[in-house]
Amino acid sequence: MTGQLAGVSIDNVNLYFGNNHVLKDVTLEIEPGEFFTFLGPSGCGKTTLLRLIAGFGKAQSGRIRIGTEDVTDLPPWKRNVGMVFQSYALWPHLTVRRNVAFGLEERRLPRPEIRQRVDAALELVGLLELGERRPSQLSGGQQQRVALARTIVVEPQVLLLDEPLSNLDAKLRVQMRQELLELQRKLALTTIFVTHDQEEANTTADRIAVMEAGVIQQVGTPAELYDNPTNRFVASFLGTANFIDGTLSEKKGQTVFRSGSGIEIPLKPGQLHAVKGDGAGEHSVMFRPQSVVIQSAGAARQQQGKVTIKGAVRHREFLGSTIRYAVSVGDTVILVEDSHRRGEAPHNIGADVELNLASEQVILLSG
């Protein structure tokens, strides 16, 4: 039961609530059949953007197209868009079956067809036998499935999911997100999913748009965003990161990043695309804690292509599979994640250590 495949294109959308600029020049291309995620902290504008696609709220400028049709000026009920609300919004005065049938009834379909399609939708989400119940008699996960069935039964061109898992407990959330993904693959339905949870986004999405303060910060696959964030916000929102501020200089024909505390990292030309102009002024680099190898001072041999940084352990957290160290290097603190195996003695607090970092693990940030 698939609708015709349609992508969504958002073109230069600006939206204000009073003086509050909520969406700033948002431009996005969502491919047909794609599982796309808007990821960002609360208040970043992700839900507003989703609601705009559904037809709730009005942008002051910009166009939205679904497939080939410009829907910018269409009211919600004239767009063939399915939305699952954060609160599910199941109507308490109607049974599960009547809830699911609602959209088909609004489309004035013949009764036998409605019955058959409602059955199929309830079957799909595994709730066929609960059709005569009221929403209040269902568990959170079941309500979620009804909301999903009610939405997909009308065969929308696009499925919009507004934090649909946030009302479930942690275990159910993992299960539901897998079911959601399976269902999306089965129906090949263009899906836009809004969440503030990076794990949820990473595990489901084909591509993610990271949003902050009404601006799309970066778009890419989960791995692209994690490995090659373009700015500090994306880097820290998608995991733990070390940031070091410093300047660029030339040394033996190579560009070298140098921090105030004296850390020097040679950079290859391929790592410099974020540099604009002549590269003067403040820059910052980012690397992940697990990219750093920690060793006791003196034990290490200088390795080819690796930067060695001397420091002292300031703080230590035992996390089971890993141990996280905070290492002081001058006045900066570098986080290091060392994988832990049984019986290995951790470095003590105050111990002098050497950190080895491959320079290709380092990203020069543009902002």
Binding site: A54, F56, P76, W77, F85, A89, G103, V154
Partner: protein, 561 residues
């Protein structure tokens, strides 16, 4: 944990009070209705007599008709207002709130006579209509008058409940229907209205009960072929041994319960608000200019209608002669002087009775709220049920019950019957208004985290000290709200009062108003008395509002407890 003996004693005391002054009198009335006069054996003959008397049959149908029509007319007033305030960007909320307190603090009978002068066949409006269009609309003829006065008075009950329901609808409920293709009237009919239905039913059933039981309005409009006036007239003219008054009482109580039951049945499993996480009400939009004109027009019209009893009362109280003219012939303050000079006891009695009754109410209300919410005493919720049951007992019934139960008991020091002692009036008032105070106190205590009390106990305070130093101070807003609601409604209560007042020197304001309004010459002073009542109630309500507001500001984040 063993139950504190003090808590048991308090529970026992309250139980005795409710038993003596609510349960026994009402049960007494019901017994008498089913007894053969004189012998005391069980019989249905009284009910047979009742339905075989054409006057009573007529009164019965009239009461049903008046109550049902009042609900309809009140709905017609409430619907557009509720719709405007919830659907549009519109500062109607204040109007709704202000309208909401009118029926609570001012019973319709106070302005009933004034309404006759405004809307009667020779009243201002009809005189104008006759002059301009040559028509005369019988707003106030017979039952119409009762329906008219009651519905413009009680429609806010429907308005508040309906608006609250509409405002509680999760916006996503509407939006999800829109994404599925519903809009406009279909959306309203299939989603919005069913979700708001519980609020409407709650309001409508309340209006039905209030009108069905009302004694004051028909008496003042001199419409006696209704149930409550018939009960009063039988008892006051024939005496407390006549069974018809009791039969009518049983019917009144029965219909009150029936209306509550039907409402409860209709509402069962439909507490939609708890299932809706978002709330926030429907999507609001700006009004187009013509919509603005229309809606403000409708609101101004309804406001004028609602305030017409007060306008009429003001004119009447200051007017010299007002008859067959649009406005009074001249203006004077003589009526006020007459009231203060000749019968100041009406005012002082009212202040005394209403304060005492309200004091009893908040004391019992706080105690019951505490017992129910914070202790494990067996049967504690029965105190709550019993106190709330007073809602289903019309004033006439309680009055008749008191007469029957306490008339034969003489006061030890004067030999006067207990039923005609003024203290009984205070007790009757407190029993009738207890539900209001109890709900206010319960709500206040529910908002209070138990941890606050546990912290006090942890620091060494006993149960009593905790209640005195922590619970009551934090509940004070709710207690004041309860006190004022009880005070204001007790100050203008007539139906139980009129049965129990034995002499004018003991009578409160509402009774005085009734007596004055019986004669044409008394209307002026009667209206003046009515204005004084409005003033007392208005000032009390305003003061409580200020006190509660100031308390909330002083406590800052107190709401988050």
């Amino acid at each position: 944990m063993t139950t504190h003996w003090g808590q048991r004693a308090v529970a026992l005391l309250i139980a005795t009070f409710l038993l003596l002054f609510l349960v026994v009198p009402v049960v007494q009335v019901i017994f008498v209705a089913f007894q053969t006069p004189g012998t005391g054996t069980f019989t249905l003959v009284n009910f047979q007599d009742f339905f075989n008397t054409s006057l009573f049959r007529e009164a019965f149908w009239n009461s049903l008709y008046v109550a049902a029509m009042s609900v309809l007319v009140a709905t017609a007033f409430a619907m557009p207002l509720a719709y405007f305030t919830t659907r549009f960007e519109f500062r109607g909320a204040i109007v709704v709130q202000t309208l909401g307190i009118i029926p609570l603090i001012m019973p319709p009978f106070v302005g009933a006579v004034a309404m006759q002068l405004l809307f009667g066949s020779n009243g201002s409006i009809n005189l104008l209509l006759d002059e301009w269009f040559g028509i005369n609309i019988p707003f106030m003829e017979g039952l119409n008058g009762v329906i008219f006065v009651e519905s413009i008075h009680y429609f806010p009950f429907i308005l508040i409940n309906l608006s609250a329901s509409l405002n509680n609808i999760d916006r996503a409920m509407e939006e999800s229907a829109q994404t599925l293709g519903a809009s406009g009237l279909r959306l309203f009919r299939r989603i919005v209205f069913p979700l708001a239905m519980p609020g409407y039913i709650a309001g409508a059933s309340l209006v039905f009960i209030k009108v069905f039981d009302d004694l004051g309005t028909p008496l003042l409009l001199n419409v006696n072929n209704l149930l409550a006036p018939q009960a009063y007239l039988r008892i006051s003219s024939i005496g407390i041994t006549d069974p018809m008054g009791y039969v009518i009482s049983v019917i009144l109580v029965g219909f009150s319960l029936l209306a509550m039951w039907v409402a409860a049945l209709a509402l069962r499993g439909k507490d939609y608000s708890t299932e809706q996480r978002g709330g926030g009400g429907l999507a609001k939009r700006q009004m187009r200019p013509w919509e603005k004109v229309l809606s403000y027009g409708v609101i101004a019209f309804i406001l004028l209608l609602v305030l017409s009893p007060h306008i009429g009362l003001t004119l009447l109280s200051f007017g010299t002669i007002w008859s067959f003219s649009v406005l009074p012939d001249g203006y004077t303050i003589d009526h006020y002087q007459e009231v203060f000079a000749q019968s100041p006891q009406f005012i002082t009695n009212t202040l005394l009775y209403a304060s005492l009754a309200a004091l009893i109410d908040v004391t019992i209300g706080t105690a019951i709220a505490y017992l129910v919410l914070r202790t494990k005493i067996a049967g504690r919720e029965w105190l709550d049920y019993a106190a709330m049951a007073a809602l289903a007992v019309p004033g006439v019934v309680l009055g008749i019950g008191y007469l029957r139960t306490f008339f034969g008991v003489p006061l030890p020091w004067s030999g006067q019957p207990l039923a005609s002692w003024w203290v009984m009036l205070v007790i009757a008032l407190s029993v009738r208004r207890l539900p209001y105070a109890l709900r206010a106190c319960t709500a206040a205590l529910q908002q209070l985290s138990v941890a606050l009390e546990e912290a006090a106990e942890n620091l060494g305070a006993g149960k009593l000290a905790t209640v005195r130093r922590i619970v009551v101070p934090l509940m004070v807003g709710g207690i004041i709200a309860g006190f004022v609601t009880s005070f204001a409604t007790a100050a203008v209560e007539l139906s139980a009062t009129i049965m129990l007042v034995s002499r004018e020197s003991d009578a409160p304001l509402a009774y005085g108003l009734y007596v004055f309004m019986q004669t044409a010459a008394g209307r002026g002073p009667g209206a003046a008395l009515g204005m004084i009542a409005v003033l007392i109630v208005g000032v009390a309500t305003y003061l409580s509002h200020r006190i509660i507001e100031r308390g909330q500001r002083a406590r800052g984040l107190a709401d988050e407890y």
